[in-house]
Symmetry: D3
Amino acid sequence: MPVVNISLYAGRTAEQKAALALAVTKTISETAGIPDSATTIIFSDVEKTDWSIGGVMASEG
Amino acid sequence: MPVVNISLYAGRTAEQKAALALAVTKTISETAGIPDSATTIIFSDVEKTDWSIGGVMASEG
Amino acid sequence: MPVVNISLYAGRTAEQKAALALAVTKTISETAGIPDSATTIIFSDVEKTDWSIGGVMASEG
Amino acid sequence: MPVVNISLYAGRTAEQKAALALAVTKTISETAGIPDSATTIIFSDVEKTDWSIGGVMASEG
Amino acid sequence: MPVVNISLYAGRTAEQKAALALAVTKTISETAGIPDSATTIIFSDVEKTDWSIGGVMASEG
Amino acid sequence: MPVVNISLYAGRTAEQKAALALAVTKTISETAGIPDSATTIIFSDVEKTDWSIGGVMASEG
């Protein structure tokens, strides 16, 4: 606890996602008093052809 | 608001998903009075080897 | 197939969600050629105190 | 983009979740170079009677 | 790893969900060779007024 | 009903996932009295570079 799912556009490197996961875990720890070890984060890379905002695919925006 | 996740079998083209996203966004707008711009849709392509109904993979059905 | 999850602000009535589910199912059928019977939709009511956009809770917007 | 779902034990106050949402949004912005306005966060409160780790409900741990 | 989300109709007791969580965890362990301690299961109770199959709410079926 | 999402590390074969889906479906049936045909399972393969526990990517653990 907690389990965090982060859906974002594909294209981030493994290093960028590792840095983001660490930073989010630390932020949760500091803000909510939850130990680092309790936080699981799962990234979902989403292609812009799979993401629509306002009826327009992000690949067309 | 809203966020819509649509899991469906892999194989639709980007054009088909774009048409579906637009149509679903319009339907939500017309039915629920939510402006188009507020609707986010994320498609998840699922391989039939990852989808089971009644204990049988869709790839075997 | 497909499975559709729709997260939206709490407050819609059961009748409104029923109408929305039917309309979205029909739209998927007509746009993507998927029979009505294959579509599952699950609504998740989300309180505005549980939904943040740009770091601001929807309850404060 | 991104959409972040955070499932955590029920019991946090609206104020605590607001603070957490703001902090996570800022962290994503600073770490990944994503503007605050692009980040949506949805909290799911999960009762300990609905959360199992290693086959044991969190309510029994 | 793994994280399992189970959405089902509301109405199961805490005891029934505990039994189900334990049984699913054991099944994953025995079938996939994953230690019990690695499996997290989160139940989502869904009202029948929030679940549509084929355009018909489960509450009307 | 129910819909089960299983997120696990990528690398299982289609055969392994088929066996796991069947076993979990049977377990739900036997434990909760839900007919096999009502259970849908969707697997999400997650790369270890997309999965963080305690701020450390599974690929680095």
